[in-house]
């Protein structure tokens, strides 16, 4: 946490001197992973010498608390979690891309062979199935209705190589697929206490084509020690891989780089007041705003770490663009409705994050705040970007 903030502060200071509207140096410095082109086959060998020649960058991962899951022990452990830092390297050749992720873990956890309550460490990366000019960023938590993503997962499970590829359109929609040419490896080094994973996939698959100048990618890490699995994890916001071989779309660059660095974006104190004036706290829990009923809308307490500024902007101005199917709607039933003949109560629609229109389309329950001025939006996003607290999770 401290390190991340410090890095942000340095960035702002350096930029204060040279920053202009079209200056993307902070974006390149903090959000872009420069991929190295190699002229050899890419393997999942974590000790492949190729990685010695690829420059890495640190990516920070924040505990997920936007949605609350129902494992009592795991929930009690959330405030004890620390900010995670992973070293990421990317290499590619004409046909394939390899992503190297390495992070420290003093307590390697492996899901037991014959056990009910042990959880293994794991790592995943995700790519949007569509991205580029005119396409907005998907919800970071495995995509959303309008933005399918491909997810690559490796877990440490005793006695088997647990690697999977999924296509997902948000919570509950994860669907396993078989992707030819994709492989993942994950190894623990007992001397350095580092987990290292390498993901190799074709640049172009049935679902996505990464042959572009700027490719969004996001990371998630599971720590078995904290009973982590599924949404109980640490995740990064969208980062962007720069592939020099492919043209960079200026328009897309200016869209994804908007609001970086966030400290230059606006006035967070005014932004906070605006969130209260506009009633954000009626549905969302964040900061010291805790009046909303839990589960009514995503908890925003550490949204600043996991959401990109352009995504936050889009969510405020046009929430219908990123409709998140909330976590299993059966989690809340309406005890005050009439049960059916078998005593089953209907789901409580109050907790659903979207409404189904008569024509079958769905709309976000959050109204668009497109009437806000550019300055107001900037101040609100600048404020939201400061929210990075999970230590007070209950």
């Amino acid at each position: 946490m401290k390190k991340a903030l410090k890095a942000g502060v340095i960035g702002t200071a350096a930029l204060a001197i040279t920053a202009f509207a079209s200056d993307y140096s902070a974006f390149y410095k903090y959000e872009v992973l420069n991929a190295k082109k190699v002229n050899k086959d890419l393997t999942t060998n974590v000790n492949d010498p190729v990685w010695k020649s690829v420059q890495g960058k640190y990516v920070y991962l924040y505990p997920q608390i936007s949605v609350r899951l129902n494992d009592k022990k795991a929930n009690q452990l959330i405030p004890k979690k620390e900010l995670k830092r992973a070293l990421v390297k990317v290499a590619y050749n004409n046909n394939e891309i390899a992503v190297y992720v390495s992070w420290k873990d003093d307590t390697p956890s492996i899901q037991g062979k014959y056990d009910t309550d042990s959880f293994g460490d794991g790592v995943s990366i995700e790519f949007p199935n569509k991205f580029g000019k005119g396409i907005t960023l998907p919800y970071i938590g495995m995509g959303d209705t309008h933005h399918p993503v491909t997810v690559y997962l490796q877990k440490s499970v005793a006695g088997r190589d647990y690697q999977k590829v999924f296509v997902s359109e948000g919570f509950g929609s994860l669907t396993e697929i078989k992707e030819p040419g994709t492989d993942i490896a994950m190894k623990y080094n007992k001397r350095t206490h580092l987990w290292t994973a390498v993901f190799v996939r074709p640049l172009k698959t049935e679902n996505s084509n990464l042959k572009a100048g700027l490719v969004p990618i996001a990371f998630a890490i599971w720590d078995g020690k904290f009973n982590e699995r599924d949404g109980n994890k640490s995740l990064s916001r969208w980062k962007f891989i720069r592939l020099q071989d492919y043209p960079l779309d200026k328009e897309y660059l200016s869209y994804v780089a908007w609001g970086v660095p966030y400290k230059k974006l606006g006035d967070p104190a005014r932004g906070k007041q605006l969130t209260i004036q506009n009633g954000c706290n009626a549905c969302h829990i964040y900061d010291d705003q805790k009046v909303a009923m839990p589960g009514l809308a995503p908890n925003l307490s550490d949204i600043g770490g996991i959401a990109n500024a352009p995504y936050l902007r889009e969510s405020i101005v046009n929430p219908n663009d990123v409709i998140i199917r909330n976590l299993n709607p059966n989690r809340h039933y309406n005890k005050f409705a009439k049960p059916d003949k078998f005593n089953a109560y209907p789901n409580n629609s109050m907790y659903s994050w979207y409404v189904v229109n008569p024509d079958g389309t769905i709309s976000s329950k959050m109204p668009p705040f497109s009437h806000l001025s550019e300055k107001d939006i900037k101040d609100i996003v600048a404020y939201l970007k400061t929210l990075r607290d999970w230590k007070n999770f209950k």
């Binding site: 899901q111 009910t116 005890k335």
Partner: protein
């Protein structure tokens, strides 16, 4: 949520704790492939810690406003009990040198506290509580699953896990207040009692009910007024759900053990009108309906003693399996016919969700049920 609902009634006044149901279930479903530790059907002693240990305190279910509650995942060794084998091979022909011993050092297991119960002699008491999945109307497991891998069948309300969608996250185990869904570590997915649906669809009751030597189990559709299940639950209201306060609307019902023997006074004489199992305890387990159930059961019993007719007593005597298990004869066959399914295609009726979830556009049903035509 479902169009129809299958239910089971168990008469606890007749359960002798013989575990035949447990064995019937185990040999049918759970003696292999990572399920060895699971008891989809277990018979525990109440009052007691039960199986898994202290399941009633392990959370899950819904609060009074209908919101899912947090729960815990029981531990294999401490709460379920790790399965063990004996050193029979070693002992064979070597009995002088070896003693019979388990290959694990168990600290807990199903029925660890069998027949312990509560109270002091001569007024100690206990009864047996057989438990399977309750196939709830608002299932906690289904609500808890972030993958939405658990579904309730439209045609009969049986709650099943779609193993293609299940990713072994185990929130279902935390969400089920009865802890009747289990993690299979071998396949890293959750599994549970399936109400023997392949038997049910062929008109046979679940193995546990069929094998029960005390004939304490009835199976039928809750909306079928001819079924004995309906009569016990709705007409006489003597069959009650277990821990209705958990808020999941269970569909396994129990005739509470309100016909327990009397307590003894200090001189060892039975106290007239007393009963060994305290009503407060039964009320905790089966809700306030126990008082009505006790009254009806005693009244009907008296009636029968006087030589009068009592439909309720006739049902509870369990004269014939044919009447106890009313599966609407050809209900499933009719459904299959409506869908135009023939022969082994019959299983499509069940298995669609196993093959194709709501978000699996890429999986073709054909891969499982390829139409092989003669002569091709």
């Amino acid at each position: 949520m479902s169009k129809r609902q299958l239910a089971m009634v168990m008469d606890l006044n007749k359960c002798i704790g013989c575990q035949t149901c447990t064995v019937a279930c185990k040999t049918q479903w759970t003696n292999r492939n990572g399920r060895e530790y699971m008891y989809w059907n277990n018979v525990e002693t109440q009052p007691g810690a039960g199986y898994p240990r202290n399941w009633m305190e392990a959370g899950g279910g819904f609060d009074e406003n209908g919101n899912l509650k947090d729960g815990i995942i029981p531990d294999m060794v401490l709460d379920y009990g790790v399965p063990w084998d004996y050193n029979h091979d070693e002992l064979f022909g070597n009995a002088d040198e070896n003693i019979l011993s388990p290959d694990q050092d168990p600290v807990w297991g199903p029925n660890w506290d069998e027949d312990v119960g509560e109270g002091d002699w001569p007024n100690s008491y206990y009864f047996y509580l057989p438990r399977i999945c309750n196939h709830c109307s608002n299932p906690g497991c289904l609500a808890a699953c972030p993958r939405e891998a658990i579904f309730k069948r439209e045609q009969d309300g049986i709650v099943l896990v779609d193993l293609d969608r299940c990713q072994g996250y185990r929130y279902c185990i935390a969400g089920c207040p009865y802890k009747k869904i289990y993690f299979n570590p071998k396949i890293s997915k959750s599994e549970k009692c399936i109400f023997c649906f392949p038997r049910i669809e062929r008109g046979l009751p679940p193995a546990c009910a069929h094998q029960c030597v005390g004939r304490i189990r009835w199976v039928g559709f809750l909306d079928d007024e001819e079924s004995q299940v309906y009569k016990l639950v709705h007409k006489y209201k003597v069959a009650l759900p277990l821990r209705p306060d958990f808020g999941t609307q269970p569909n396994v019902y129990y005739v509470p053990p309100v016909l327990s023997p009397p307590t003894f006074d200090e001189e060892g004489k039975p106290i007239e009108g007393s009963q060994r199992i305290p009503m407060e305890f039964l009320e905790k387990l089966f809700g306030p309906g126990v008082h009505h159930a006790a009254k009806v059961l005693k009244e009907e019993m008296e009636k029968r003693k006087r030589g009068e007719e009592s439909e309720l007593m006739d049902i509870l005597i369990s004269y014939s399996h044919k009447d106890m298990f009313r599966l609407d004869e050809n209900y499933y066959q009719k459904l299959a016919e409506q869908q135009g399914l023939k022969g082994t295609e019959f299983f499509k009726l069940v298995d669609y969700r196993y093959v194709q979830g709501p978000h699996t556009p890429k999986v073709e049903v054909k891969a499982y049920f390829e139409d092989v035509k003669e002569g091709e």
